[in-house]
C-alpha cells in the first residue's frame, strides 16, 4: 500500500519541481527553496484510521438525514406561519428566521448545548446536535418553501378562487403540487449546506466525520492527514447529493413544464 503511494508522491514532487524551476527563471526571489510539502504525508496512517473515518461518515450521514427531516418539519410550519395574513403568526415566524440567519450556527449550537441543561433538559450531545441543525436549517428551508409558493403565478390562485375552491383546496390541488417541483433543487442545495454544517457538532464531541479527523490530527500530530481525508469524504457526500439533485431534476424534467402564461 505504501509503495504506490510513495511513487505517486515522487511523481507529484517531480512535477512541482518542474514548475518551480521553470518559474524560477522569471522571478527567483518569489520561490525560495523549501522542503517539498508532501514529503511526510502518511497514507498509511489514514488507512489505519479508516474504520474510524467510516464510522464518522455513517454517523454524519444519518444525523444529517434526521436533521434535514427535522428542518423540513420546522420549515413547513414556519413557512405556513409566514404566509398568513395575520401578524400574530407572521411576526414570530419572521423574528425566528431573522434570529437564526443573523447568528452563527456555532453560537446557536452552544446556546442549546449549554442552555438546555440550565432549563432542566439534559440531553445527549447527539440529540442536541440534531436539534440545533434542524432548528437552524429549518429557517432556511422555510424561506425556500415560501419563495416556492410565492413563485406560483397569481393567475393560478385566481383560477382556483374563480372556480369556487376554498383556501385549503387551492393550496392542496393547485399551489403546493407546483411549488413542490420548484423547491426540490434549492432544498437539495440546503441539504448540502446542512451536511457541511454538521462538522460543527464535532465541537460538542459528537463522534461524526470531522471528529474522526480531529482525533487523527491530535493523536498523531498529523493535521494534514486528518483534515484532507475528511474533506475528501465531504466531497464524496457532496457528489452523492449532487447526483441526487441531477436525478430529481431529470425526473422533474419529464413532468409537464411549468405554465407558459
Amino acid at each position: 500500500m505504501a509503495v504506490p503511494a510513495r511513487l505517486c508522491c515522487s511523481r507529484l514532487r517531480y512535477s512541482l519541481f518542474a514548475i518551480r524551476y521553470s518559474l524560477l527563471a522569471i522571478r527567483p526571489s518569489l520561490f525560495p527553496r523549501r522542503a517539498p510539502m508532501l514529503e511526510n504525508f502518511s497514507f498509511r496512517t489514514i488507512v489505519e484510521y479508516l474504520p474510524l473515518f467510516g464510522q464518522g461518515l455513517i454517523t454524519t450521514v444519518w444525523l444529517s438525514a434526521l436533521s434535514f427531516a427535522g428542518a423540513l418539519a420546522v420549515g413547513i410550519v414556519l413557512a405556513a406561519m409566514n404566509l398568513q395574513r395575520a401578524q400574530l403568526f407572521r411576526i414570530p415566524a419572521k423574528a425566528y428566521i431573522d434570529a437564526v440567519r443573523a447568528t452563527p450556527l456555532l453560537a446557536q449550537l452552544y446556546f442549546l448545548y449549554f442552555g438546555l441543561p440550565r432549563l432542566g433538559f439534559v440531553l445527549p450531545e447527539l440529540v442536541v446536535g440534531i436539534l440545533a441543525l434542524s432548528l437552524n436549517s429549518g429557517a432556511y428551508v422555510a424561506e425556500i418553501i415560501r419563495a416556492g409558493i410565492l413563485s406560483i403565478p397569481r393567475g393560478q390562485v385566481e383560477a382556483g378562487v374563480a372556480s369556487g375552491m376554498t383556501y385549503v383546496q387551492r393550496m392542496r390541488l393547485v399551489i403546493l403540487p407546483q411549488a413542490f417541483k420548484v423547491t426540490i433543487p434549492p432544498l437539495l442545495g440546503q441539504a448540502i449546506v446542512l451536511v457541511k454544517d454538521s462538522a460543527l457538532l464535532s465541537l460538542i464531541s459528537v463522534s461524526e466525520l470531522t471528529r474522526a479527523g480531529q482525533l487523527l490530527a491530535s493523536d498523531r500530530f498529523m493535521p494534514a492527514e486528518g483534515f484532507i481525508t475528511i474533506a475528501a469524504f465531504y466531497l464524496l457526500l457532496y457528489y452523492c447529493l449532487k447526483g441526487l439533485a441531477g436525478l430529481s431534476s431529470r425526473w422533474l424534467g419529464l413532468q409537464p413544464a411549468r405554465s407558459s402564461t
Binding site: 385566481e158 374563480a162 372556480s163 393547485v174 413532468q255 402564461t261
Partner: protein
C-alpha cells in the same frame, strides 16, 4: 347610494357601484343590469375599468360603494357565501390560467370533483364531452404546455362549463392569442352564447359583438359612457369618445 329599480333584478345587477385603487377611481357609479340569457359585450380603451368591472362580479375585486347583486345574492353581505356563488360563475382569463401540472381533462374535472363533489367517473365523462364540444377530443390527455394558445383557451372555457355555471365572464379571452387562433375561440364562445348562457364579455372583437351580443357597453375612465344594441353602437355611436374609440379599432 343610487336608487335601485324596485321591481326586477337581473342576473347581474350593478347599482351605483364605485371602486378605488388607492386614490384612482377605477369604477364610477356604475349602474348596469344584465338579464338572464343576455350577452353583453364590454369595450373601451385600455385602463377604462372593463376588466375590473367583471372581476367584481365574482369577487376577485371587492367593491367600495353601491350594491352588486349576482344571481339574487348581494356581494359583501355576510349571508352571501362567496365560494358557493363562484361555483355558479365561470371566469375565462386573458392568460388562460390553466393548471400546468394537470392534463386538459384534469383541468376540466378538478373543480367539479372537489368543489361540486361530483363522482369522478361522471365528471370525467362530462369532461370528455365538453372537450369534444370545444373541438379538443384528441387533446384530453395533453398538458397545457403541449397546447397552442387557442387550444388552451378552449380548455379554459370547457373548464368553466364543467361547473355548469349560470353566468360566464370573459376577460379579453382572445387578446393573448395569435390572430389565426382567435376565430377558434370565438366560435366556441358563440356556441356557448347560443345555448342561452348569461355572458359578459370584455373584448374588442366587434364581429363577435355583432353576431351574439344583445348589448354593447362602452366604458371610458371608469364610467359607462354609452350602452346600446351592437347595431346602434357601431353604426351610430352617440358620443365623441365612443366615435374616437371606434375609429381607432375599426381602421385596421
Amino acid at each position: 347610494m343610487s336608487t335601485p329599480s324596485p321591481t326586477k333584478t337581473g342576473m347581474i345587477d350593478f347599482r351605483g357601484v364605485s371602486k378605488w385603487f388607492g386614490t384612482l377611481n377605477v369604477l364610477k357609479d356604475i349602474t348596469l343590469s344584465v338579464e338572464p340569457r343576455e350577452v353583453v359585450v364590454v369595450c373601451g380603451p385600455s385602463g377604462s375599468g372593463k376588466s375590473t368591472l367583471i372581476r367584481c362580479i365574482n369577487g376577485l375585486e371587492a367593491i367600495k360603494d353601491g350594491d352588486l347583486i349576482v344571481d339574487g345574492q348581494r356581494l359583501g353581505d355576510p349571508a352571501t357565501n362567496m365560494t358557493q356563488l363562484r361555483t355558479e360563475i365561470g371566469f375565462v382569463f386573458q392568460s388562460f390560467n390553466l393548471y400546468p401540472h394537470k392534463t386538459a381533462l384534469e383541468n376540466v374535472t378538478l373543480a367539479p370533483i372537489h368543489v361540486r363533489k361530483i363522482a369522478r367517473a361522471e365528471a370525467e365523462q362530462a369532461g370528455r364531452e365538453l372537450l369534444a364540444k370545444v373541438g379538443l377530443a384528441d387533446k384530453v390527455d395533453a398538458y397545457p404546455s403541449q397546447l397552442s394558445g387557442g387550444q388552451q383557451q378552449r380548455v379554459a372555457i370547457a373548464r368553466c362549463l364543467g361547473m355548469r355555471p349560470k353566468i360566464m365572464l370573459f376577460d379579453e379571452p382572445t387578446s393573448a392569442l395569435d390572430p389565426e387562433m382567435i376565430s377558434e375561440v370565438l366560435d366556441v364562445m358563440v356556441a356557448v352564447a347560443e345555448e342561452g348562457m348569461t355572458m359578459m364579455v370584455v373584448t374588442h372583437e366587434m364581429g363577435f359583438a355583432r353576431k351574439v351580443a344583445q348589448r354593447v357597453v362602452f366604458m371610458d375612465a371608469g364610467a359607462i359612457v354609452e350602452s346600446g344594441t351592437p347595431e346602434e353602437f357601431f353604426s351610430a355611436p352617440k358620443t365623441d369618445r365612443s366615435r374616437a374609440f371606434l375609429s381607432k379599432i375599426l381602421r385596421h
